[in-house]
């Protein structure tokens, strides 16, 4: 039982980090960025390809695994951030002010394009994390056991990184000038411009940050399954979106809470009921929460104009 909940927590932390990207974009643009899951998948590919390259060239043996992982994560963040930036410029910015349906269709289009791009260039078979490498074997033999709970090094890494990312984003949004400008923009875009905020740059920054976060989650997900596949972004992206809606879309702590809750409920369902109904629990939870609280757990009423 405790083991299952821990596994759910690990998965939930990943959902939460991806959900942040959905929620930040929605908070500012009222747009559901359906391509976000694919950006996560791209990040995973960039990370795994980097790792494979490092292992294949023998660099992993000399540099050590931790350094190589950092390199892979940075590479994937860079690639995904560029994609996020370009996608916003190409697919969403020209449609700003064109109602809410067109950007949504554009988002679905982008997600199909990204998926097919990866499938055509990387093949439709999964690519694998170089787990046979000696550095991996050494790292994976570790782990800690406490009573009924055994913690794998990968799991510990995932939780640590996700918690750090969430704390970092929270501090950024609450304490920095740009973070505060993001919150201001999401509350009143016209007023944000009137105080001198370049709203287009805030929007770009939101896409870049959200995409970089998703990329980290993508690499970590690949470490969990030791592979990346062109269609991994769909279901994971969907789950993260559910997490964002659960918590109250547009609300940053809500996305974190929603992600963790979703992971835990899935795990509890697997443990107590049937494992192959995992996705049913996720979407069932969404239904129940939305019936009780249509704006999500932490969603507030949109502040009325005074």
């Amino acid at each position: 039982m405790i083991q299952t909940l821990w596994d759910g927590f690990v998965q939930g932390a990943l959902y939460a980090v991806v959900a942040l990207g959905y929620t930040m974009v929605y908070g500012i643009l009222m747009l559901i960025n359906f391509a976000h899951g694919e950006v996560m998948m791209l990040g995973a590919y960039a990370g795994v390809v980097t790792l494979a390259g490092l292992a294949g060239s023998g660099a992993m043996a000399s540099l050590g695994l931790p350094l190589c992982l950092c390199g892979a994560v940075l590479a994937s963040m860079g690639v995904a951030a560029c994609y996020g930036f370009v996608v916003e410029r190409v697919a969403y910015r020209p449609l700003r002010g064109a109602g809410s349906l067109s950007p949504l269709i554009s988002a679905i289009g982008v997600s199909i394009v990204l998926q097919n791009f990866v499938m055509l260039t990387q093949g439709n078979a999964p690519i694998y994390v170089p787990g046979a490498d000696k550095a991996w074997q050494d790292a994976l033999t570790g782990g800690w056991t406490a009573g009924p709970l055994s913690v794998q090094p990968t799991d510990a890494l995932i939780v640590a990184v996700c918690v750090l990312l969430m704390a970092g984003l929270w501090l950024f949004v609450q304490k920095t000038r740009i973070g505060t400008a993001m919150r201001a923009t999401s509350q009143d875009r016209v007023m944000a411009r009137l105080v001198g905020i370049d709203v287009d740059r805030v929007i770009s920054a939101t896409f870049v940050i959200g995409s970089a976060l998703a990329a980290v989650a993508g690499v970590l997900t690949s470490l969990l399954t030791m592979q990346a596949k062109f269609d991994m972004g769909f279901l994971l992206g969907m789950k993260a979106f559910v997490a964002a809606v659960l918590g109250g879309i547009g609300n940053i702590p809500g996305a974190m809470l929603g992600g963790l809750l979703l992971g835990l409920v899935e795990a509890a369902g697997i443990y107590g009921l049937r494992a192959d109904y995992k996705d049913v629990y996720a979407f069932g939870l969404l239904l129940v929460v939305l019936i009780a609280r249509p704006r999500g757990l932490l969603g507030e009423r949109v502040a009325e104009k005074v």
Partner: protein, 238 residues
């Protein structure tokens, strides 16, 4: 003769088929307080919005400091020195009072300058200091108006656009707000003031324009319009 700080030359603007401004020409000189009065729907808010470039003029030109700002992004207009306190105040409801002020000074990079200006704002509006950690949405209407003005002053603008600062406020607070505006004149800030409260606006203003269904109908010194029978009849309740 030096160029006026702000000049609208035959500006027209519309929302789809609705014409909001027709051939509006007005000038605001350096250091002046100019009032823009008119009935509901006359186009006062639209006039300020075309100055800030939130609404695009369909014809004419808007000059600030002698240069056209037509089509400039609104944030660049603000950077050029025009701060706009919009109708309805538009406080960032979920930011604290202090964060609202910080956003007013978004374009100021020097933290020491921001801190000094915040102190100055609290000196003018002590009420805001007491509520600095409260979120904007929880302030009273009067406090929100104070915050809206203080937020705009954080940038030390050359020109302040004020859209109905007295709307929905008790007479005592209205006095206080008008005193602050009168004080701005002494500090050399130029003000374009839109008001429903025509009597107070005309008393305070050096000059005034009367807007009627999108067109300028009268202009003149505040005192002169205040004495004009037709203006008294239409805007001052006889």
């Amino acid at each position: 003769m030096t160029a006026p700080l702000l000049e609208l030359r035959s500006v027209s603007a519309s929302y789809g088929p609705i014409r909001a401004l027709k051939d509006v020409t007005l000038r605001v000189g350096r250091g002046e307080i100019v009032a823009l009065i008119g009935a509901n729907g006359a186009g006062k808010t639209s006039a300020l919005m075309t100055i800030s470039q939130i609404v695009r003029a369909s014809a004419g030109d808007v000059l600030f400091d002698g240069r056209s700002i037509l089509g400039m992004p609104p944030d660049r207009v603000t950077a050029a020195g025009i701060c706009h306190v919009p109708e309805g105040r538009r406080i960032f409801a979920r930011l604290t009072v202090e964060e609202n002020l910080r956003m007013g000074a978004f374009l100021v990079r020097d933290a020491a300058v921001v801190a000094a200006r915040m102190e100055a704002a609290f000196a003018v509006f002590p009420r805001l200091r007491e509520r600095r950690m409260q979120t904007g949405g929880t302030l009273s209407g009067g406090e929100q108006q104070m915050l809206a003005i203080a937020r705009a002053l954080m940038l030390e603008p050359k020109l302040l656009l004020l859209d109905e600062p007295s709307l929905g406020l008790a007479p005592l607070i209205v006095r206080q707000i008008f005193d602050v505006v009168a004080d701005l004149r002494r500090r050399g800030v130029t003000v374009l003031l839109v008001e429903q409260n025509a009597r107070m606006a005309l008393r305070l203003a050096d000059r005034a324009y009367v807007l009627e269904t999108g067109e300028i109908r009268r202009e003149g010194p505040g005192a002169e319009l205040l004495d004009d029978p037709a203006i008294r009849e239409a805007y001052l309740g006889g």
